[in-house]
């Protein structure tokens, strides 16, 4: 019998009678991580990694029915063994491993193979079938190492300070914000937008240590902020709050910034190619490491990546997703946060 089925509501585990990152409300949702395109509201029951629990409760509601596991900790649901493995995407992100009668399926959720020193590093998991994301599934995407990114970001801040400008980073509140905090740790005081601050509080509450930041109060004093560092969600680009920041130099941190044409979008001063998704080599290495007989590709460049996998002798199929792009859901996130 088949272990999983692709339905309109999302990936369904047949014998286990639960869904993985469902798009519409279901009775039992096993969640890979806290991003809004993966953990949707309205499910009757949630299962996630320990580090995601506070994040999901913070975003969806304190009163939801939710339980959590550590990495590699087994849980039996209707005869199906569920285990989480680190995905290296954001804090608490997990690949979901399902085992039933010796048959193993791994759902990657979102992942990146390069360590970011803030989320638990990605670990490859062997399986029969692998469902992989493919946000940056083109060979043009090749990320720089964390060390190099650190130098780039810190130099930009120092250059701004020389020119008497305040450095404003725009990055999603879950994942990107904490990564930026880590990359620029120690350069100068870091102020974060309420949305990020609240999330940080939730994360810290579950015992994870984050670099020190200060809440950016709405009535901040301009003099306090001058030449400092601010992190806010990208939805605030063009907002009154951003305009109030004295002499702001703005930067977007996103994998899309790898392409020069995207960096040159006139909305911001700088673009840094910092992504929480795997690059081309990362995707390929991850797929190969699973030794899977069959690969399902979702979330981004599914057509291109699955075609290429088939050409190099790995059976692959294209999967459509309701919430195609990560950014889409994250823009929803920003809306609800700023509301």
């Amino acid at each position: 019998m088949k272990l999983i089925k692709f339905t309109k509501k999302g990936i369904y585990c047949i014998p286990g009678n639960f869904y993985l990152d469902p798009w519409y409300p279901v009775d039992y949702a096993v969640i890979s991580h806290g991003h809004a395109d993966h953990s949707r509201p309205g499910n009757k029951h949630y299962l996630c990694h320990n580090d995601s629990k506070a994040i999901i409760k913070h975003r969806i509601g304190q009163d939801i029915s939710i339980e959590s596991l550590g990495y590699n900790e087994p849980k039996n649901i209707n005869g199906v063994q569920v285990r989480f493995f680190p995905a290296g995407h954001v804090i608490g992100s997990a690949q979901i491993r399902l085992e039933y009668k010796g048959f193993v399926v791994v759902f990657s959720g979102d992942y990146k193979t390069q360590p970011d020193f803030i989320s638990t590093p990605y670990e490859p998991v062997k399986c029969h079938e692998f469902i992989t994301e493919s946000t940056f599934g083109l060979p043009i995407y090749k990320w720089k190492e964390e060390k190099e990114l650190q130098t780039e970001l810190q130099n930009w801040v120092l250059q701004n300070q020389k020119n008497n400008r305040t450095s404003v980073f725009l990055g999603y509140s879950l994942g990107k914000a904490q990564r930026i905090m880590k990359l620029i740790e120690g350069v100068d005081d870091v102020y974060v937008h309420t949305a990020i601050h609240n999330l940080n509080t939730a994360i810290s509450g579950s015992g994870i240590e984050l670099p020190e930041t200060t809440l950016l109060k709405y009535d901040f004093k301009k003099a306090d902020l001058q030449n400092k560092i601010v992190i806010m969600p990208p939805g605030l680009l063009g907002s009154k709050l951003l305009k109030k920041i004295p002499n702001a130099a703005t930067a977007i941190c996103s994998g899309w910034m790898h392409i020069r044409g995207n960096r040159r979008w006139k909305g911001v001063d700088a673009g840094f190619a910092i992504s929480d998704h795997a690059d081309w080599d990362g995707l390929l290495a991850a797929v190969k490491a699973t030794e899977a007989e069959k690969v399902y590709v979702t979330h981004g460049s599914q057509a291109v990546f699955s075609k290429y996998l088939n050409e190099i002798g790995i059976e692959a199929h294209e999967l459509k997703t309701e919430f195609g792009e990560d950014e889409l859901a994250q823009s929803e996130e920003v809306k609800t946060e700023t509301a």
């Binding site: 083109l138 060979p139 043009i140 995407y141 090749k142 930009w156 020119n163 680009l237 063009g238 130099a249 899309w256 790898h258 392409i259 020069r260 044409g261 995207n262 960096r263 040159r264 979008w265 006139k266 909305g267 911001v268 001063d269 700088a270 291109v304 075609k307 290429y308 050409e311 309701e322 919430f323 195609g324 792009e325 950014e327 889409l328 823009s331």
Partner: protein, 528 residues
């Protein structure tokens, strides 16, 4: 090339013109003279001829990366620039090569006559010694144009800041006839190769938007009223048989308009005139959209000259036979202008018509009718006014037509090209016709990058049908569409044709229930 590469990074890491100027000045302070000359040459479109065909470069990259061609093409279509695609696909370099910019350029020009094998060896060796950004520059040196968001004006302002030399003179110098191998940096800046006395422009006199009632302007006979045109405001200089055309952005655009140069050259005497460069075909002024096809072209082809001929509507005269007329009144200048052009008539050079009117009430109707022949409205100039430097309130007013607008829903979206190749930028809009939707316009401008990004994501999620590059989307997003004119049309399914439609704003507050009907759109024809 490190310094040059750092300069490019510094320029790209800001959208503030002043920061770009500072970065250029810093570079000019440290770079060798030959490199500076080449930078100016590259940024002003004077690039050496291509030594290696792009197809060869593409095949080498495919060989190195072992990628199938379809995947290469997917990558290219996502990046939108070949030189950049090649740079991104190549594996990381294994060693470091550091040579100044001009050496690279010399080596590349030596490469031109060599065999493909020799070219390959040189290019692969270079790729392997350059990091991503330098590699991109290297590829650009070989082929594509160097577009990095530095206008001639920005470059000139940097050189002016560096040297203290007048910016307009520098503009003439860098546009002038020179090559990096035949002039020194100092001689270029000092304009040894040009005669600036011949090209020196005057600052433009500019108008404010009308902000009072016409009646408050005083007597009608104190005013000269003309049509306002949406082209390129230009200052045309003819001195000592040399002709120069300056744009209002203080750029020399002489070479872009050969027919104007020819027409002006035939006129007698020395003079400086102020006018509007317009696309004019069969005595009809075309829209700015058409004129745009003529702008910033490296080559003005014969076909382009035929398809979009330009002419000049002359507004004013600032100098005749070396005498500065700017302190004379508008009335005096106008009569000088009429004298000069009484003997010198031409199809390409026309005097801007002075509108006859008796009382202020007549003007509103004239203004609204202006749209029908692609005029933007009216200009009101006080007859006693001198030709001011820049903007001065009270003497010159512009009074534009109100734009026509409708609310329509997006039904198709298509990806853009070039730097916007990853986003949906071109949309098709429909209005309601009974219980159906009917297409009325296609538009591709007027939104912010942030909005385009958001809409692109929405399109990805809401595409109902793929048809080549076109996505049919759920009829949900409503936009206010502005346009310059509207007429009945048998060629269009909707029965109407909009002239120069553009997105004025995204109406997030409206739903598909709120859009215009074809009847309400047609009603605009009768009203306009």
């Amino acid at each position: 090339m490190k310094d040059f590469s750092n300069l490019i990074s510094a320029i790209e890491i800001t959208n503030k013109t002043n920061a770009k100027i500072d970065a250029l000045v810093d570079y000019f302070k440290i770079a060798p003279d030959k490199d500076k000359l080449w930078l100016i040459a590259l940024f002003t479109g004077k690039r050496p001829s291509r030594p290696v065909k792009s197809n060869l470069m593409k095949s080498w990259v495919m060989e190195i990366t072992k990628l199938p061609e379809w995947l290469f093409l997917e990558s290219y279509s996502s990046v939108g620039d070949l030189g950049e695609t090649l740079a991104l696909l190549l594996p990381n370099p294994e060693h470091t090569i550091e040579k100044p910019l001009h050496i690279w350029i010399d080596e590349l020009s030596d490469l031109k006559p060599k065999s493909d094998e020799e070219k390959k060896e040189y290019v692969l060796e270079s790729w392997n010694g350059l990091e991503a950004q330098e590699r991109l520059i290297f590829n650009k040196l070989i082929g594509g144009s160097f577009r990095i968001g530095v206008s001639k004006k920005t470059l000139v302002n940097a050189l002016a800041k560096l040297s203290g030399i007048d910016a307009n003179q520098l503009m003439h110098s860098i546009i002038g006839n020179w090559t990096p191998n035949t002039i020194s940096f100092d001689d270029l800046l000092n304009g040894e190769h040009i005669n600036y006395d011949n090209s020196k422009p005057y600052p433009f006199c500019l108008a404010y938007s009308l902000e009072k009632e016409l009646e408050d302007l005083g007597e009608t006979n104190e005013w000269q009223v003309e049509y306002k045109w949406d082209g390129i405001r230009g200052q045309i200089i003819k001195r000592k048989e040399e002709v120069f055309i300056w744009s209002r952005g203080e750029e020399l655009v002489t070479e872009q308009f050969p027919e104007l140069v020819a027409a002006v050259s035939q006129l007698v005497g020395s003079f400086v005139i102020d006018g509007e460069i317009l696309a004019i075909k069969d005595s009809t002024v075309l829209l700015f959209n058409d004129l745009q096809k003529r702008l910033n072209r490296k080559n003005v082809t014969k076909k382009l000259l035929e398809d979009v001929p330009v002419g000049l509507y002359i507004y004013d005269i600032l100098e005749v036979d070396d005498v500065d007329l700017r302190r004379s009144s508008m009335e005096e200048r106008r009569s000088k202008l009429e004298n000069l052009f009484e003997q010198n008539t031409s199809d390409i050079l026309k005097l801007s018509e002075v509108i006859n009117f008796n009382n202020w009430d007549e003007l509103d109707a004239l203004r609204n009718a202006a749209r029908s022949f692609n005029s933007e409205g009216l200009m009101l100039k006080k007859k006693s006014s001198i030709y001011h430097v820049g903007r001065k309130k009270g003497d010159w007013w512009k009074w534009k037509v109100d734009p026509l607008t409708i609310d329509a829903v997006m039904i198709y979206a298509q990806k853009g090209s070039g730097r916007r190749s990853s986003k949906y930028t071109d949309y098709t809009f429909a209005v309601r016709k009974e219980d159906k939707l009917v297409t009325v316009a296609k538009a591709y401008s007027g939104l912010t990058d942030v909005e385009i990004t958001e809409i692109s994501k929405w399109v990805n999620k809401n595409a109902i049908e793929k048809f080549g590059p076109v996505r049919t989307v759920k009829a949900e997003l409503v936009f206010e569409i502005a346009f310059e004119g509207i007429a009945y049309s048998k060629r269009h399914k909707s029965g109407v044709a909009l002239r120069f439609p553009r997105m004025k704003r995204w109406r997030r507050d409206k739903t598909v229930k709120d859009i215009d009907t074809i009847e309400s759109v047609k009603a605009l024809i009768d009203a306009s």
